[in-house]
Subunit: 303 residues, 4 copies
Amino acid sequence: MELALIGLGKMGSGMSRRLLKQGFRVAGYDVNPGAVAALEPEGLRPLKAIQEVRTTLTAPRIVWLMLPAGTVTEEAVQTLGEVLEAGDLVVDGGNAFYKDSMRRAAWLEARGIQFADVGVSGGVWGERHGYGLMMGATAAAAARLEPILKALAPAPDKGWVHVGPVGAGHFAKMVHNGIEYALMQAYAEGFEILRQKKEFRIDLARLAEAWRHGTVIRSWLLDLTAAALAEDQDLEGVAPYVPDSGEGRWTVQEAVDLGVPVPTISGALWERFASQQEARYAYKLLAVMRRAFGGHAVKRNEG
Amino acid sequence: MELALIGLGKMGSGMSRRLLKQGFRVAGYDVNPGAVAALEPEGLRPLKAIQEVRTTLTAPRIVWLMLPAGTVTEEAVQTLGEVLEAGDLVVDGGNAFYKDSMRRAAWLEARGIQFADVGVSGGVWGERHGYGLMMGATAAAAARLEPILKALAPAPDKGWVHVGPVGAGHFAKMVHNGIEYALMQAYAEGFEILRQKKEFRIDLARLAEAWRHGTVIRSWLLDLTAAALAEDQDLEGVAPYVPDSGEGRWTVQEAVDLGVPVPTISGALWERFASQQEARYAYKLLAVMRRAFGGHAVKRNEG
Amino acid sequence: MELALIGLGKMGSGMSRRLLKQGFRVAGYDVNPGAVAALEPEGLRPLKAIQEVRTTLTAPRIVWLMLPAGTVTEEAVQTLGEVLEAGDLVVDGGNAFYKDSMRRAAWLEARGIQFADVGVSGGVWGERHGYGLMMGATAAAAARLEPILKALAPAPDKGWVHVGPVGAGHFAKMVHNGIEYALMQAYAEGFEILRQKKEFRIDLARLAEAWRHGTVIRSWLLDLTAAALAEDQDLEGVAPYVPDSGEGRWTVQEAVDLGVPVPTISGALWERFASQQEARYAYKLLAVMRRAFGGHAVKRNEG
Amino acid sequence: MELALIGLGKMGSGMSRRLLKQGFRVAGYDVNPGAVAALEPEGLRPLKAIQEVRTTLTAPRIVWLMLPAGTVTEEAVQTLGEVLEAGDLVVDGGNAFYKDSMRRAAWLEARGIQFADVGVSGGVWGERHGYGLMMGATAAAAARLEPILKALAPAPDKGWVHVGPVGAGHFAKMVHNGIEYALMQAYAEGFEILRQKKEFRIDLARLAEAWRHGTVIRSWLLDLTAAALAEDQDLEGVAPYVPDSGEGRWTVQEAVDLGVPVPTISGALWERFASQQEARYAYKLLAVMRRAFGGHAVKRNEG
């Protein structure tokens, strides 16, 4: 079976390798030629431009995007809409907003091109352990993609699901990431409490390792956390800065649209926002308010 | 090796069986004689009263409590303080507040009796899979308990940890449960969003099952959730009522004492509180405030 | 000075009266003829349709909308875009989303028609005490509207502000309402704590009344709350149901877009959402999870 | 009427002046002799030690404490318990935890000494405008204190209330401050959103000033905020650091005890905690978790 993978970053390259190892013929493109070249020894057919999918693959084609959400994905879809033929199938495996995916599907469909949105989870570990995959697609497109999903997933019958129509895949992945934010924050709060309880001098690495077995809170995130703490539990060189990608934000905004209370998912998002700001205006204003009514001194910035 | 288990409920009976199967001599007491009788065929030596630990066990004794936190545990410790001899060791495996454990340890120590607090996680699954165990104890007490922990844990070298001095075990278990509250709430929020997105008609059971493999959010709680959803994802007969035990509350109160922000753990706790109230005063008052400034009609109670 | 008011509900009728009393010539329209008729004795010139603004007012006209946000406002703007002439000025005093206002302004501007968005606060009390007004408009439009704002405001130099360009008025009003949600929730939480502290048998009405004077938390919302509690502090007939309008939701979504942590505003919104649902799926799922790991009984729905 | 004021800081000195101006005979003590000396020209009778209340005042005496909660108040009560006579009355006007006040009342009562807890709000403005006062006391003690409360309050019939038995005054003040935290945070969030919306270049000082009149969110805190913003809305020299005193913490802990959800009060408290920490461990751990599963680079600390 044949497909092209557009975008050979951390996720795309791992997926290429997993597919190549299972006998898929994979053509690949990346804006960075080095990423393409690195996979050639493993059997990847190199593409010099997205447009080459037309000549390199045999129709009906499958082109799977693993690109940053937003402009990059938008432009790739535009290009494919012009290059591909009716009957071809575009898959967006990136983290696009599900409404964008629905719009792109409609635009491609008007050209006779199929579209599927497949949320892909698993990070850098997916290549070895298999990826979690959530697909939004018509029944026809889903049937075509099934062999690929079975190969990418941890096992042919595990870890992939046809969630619903186009859009549902990225919707499910968005919620997955929203949950992920809150799970991470939950552990982070717990470990901060333990660390602040200085009188007990708790070895967080040993505790996290023990928690991995037999407890109610065991999880893959805890496995990773335990490994990280085992390496360094003081984290002195690490900046207290937590980026956020689109999905946590979208999850909260969708929850608002749907009228669903999401205290932990939003709580986790606010914490990330807070970590990203060095001198929060809200805090300054609170300090000034306290001074105004109580005469409390305000701490001044140094320098 | 020999010990007595006081309290043979869901946790205590499972632990008894796990220990008996591994060749421990276990004496057992429960306020409910049926719970004792049920374990006799499996080798449990029955106790008719807590006081019998004195005559049934050989000194130095180990008496392990698996009782509800609060009065019941308090009274049992009092009784043991009077019945046991110097050199005996009392273990509280229940969910006591760690400061109570520290107080009890000091009281027993004045009588020459050792004390250890061991948080036990794993629920009804622990008997088969092993329990997660977090011990607070002196080095001497810890050494005495090690064989028991190794037997109760999923494997001799996994799932148990000597966290620190007396109190540290229950402290770690408290934080474990605080994290647990937030993890559960995270999943609950995610699944509620998915369910409210009616247009996608997402099969939550299939999605949860797929999420168990390869995704970042896989966990034991997700395993259980997937199983529960597979059985019934509409949950129509289930009342929207979530009890809380002490540990979620204590975790938030400790976080306050330590100055640690816990938005997800507290968010999860507030949700449980909210689920427990049928006619929240705060909501009524908000409705009345809206009427007061905006002339908005207030919904009236029926009947 | 002359203007037309479209929409004579609680807000629009109060504003009409306030303007009529100060000598403005006000034409008025409402989908409900009774609302128009009720104001005729006070000097309102009745309009039978929005289109009549063209013939009733002298150019350049000012037409002020006080309509529900969404479709109703959209259609009114469409109508005015077709009916009005270059140089006329449309004001939206409703609670539209600021991006809709910006879009409408651009659409009208293409027809030579000016647009201003004016957030109006004060509820049913504004007629007597004056309204708080936040205007988004060009300098030219702002200058034209100044006399009206001065008349609607509590005093000519108080309670109105030209916030910025088109959109800024509704943006400021949106944030105002977001703050309002959190303020209301803050009081509601406090009073619920006081009420739950049953041993002190606190008279909430007397306490709220005392708090109105001299304390740090005195406010207009507290004035209203005290009045409501004085009337009935048990609120037995009041359903625990709190509606939400668009602005609380938009504020949270904007905060997400801007990367601003809003724990209290979002917390207040989640509470309103929670109040609106009778049998939350999230709670049911949490109950089922607890059963799954701990064997805890689940409360069943009655009937 | 005669009383002694112990503690002549910002609050105590303002109260002394307000009482002296209304003809009360006030004796005063402060650990800082300068604070006593400053009030002598206004009529304060200076005390060189707390013990002098015995000889300076005529029995039955009233001694009003305005001291920092905790050890300082505890020691003063101890001293007074030894110095005073049956029939004397000790008032704690500071911000003590209500359970401490109940304990102290019981201890004093055993010596025949009365006790009342009076929460005092109003900050540095109280001297001029009057204080908000919440009293917990027996009917007898309340009757004795009534003239003093009437003098301290904004008006004899406004701003003071006998909330309930001993403890109820400090309980009400605690909740008052919890509400205050959330109100402040609500405004801070709103203003931060406005400020981040850079395209509108909103003048926060002018907007805050306008909001003071006619809007639903007008309040005394907003008055102060507007004044502060008028002086400096960039707040560049202000450190983003917000202290917290005991009451916000106690309010959350009490809410936990009472099972009352307090998302906004706790949200405000977590924000203050977060502002107090320079390099939050939770954020570092989140950054490390992201690296662990996604290979995301971690920002390093500089230097």
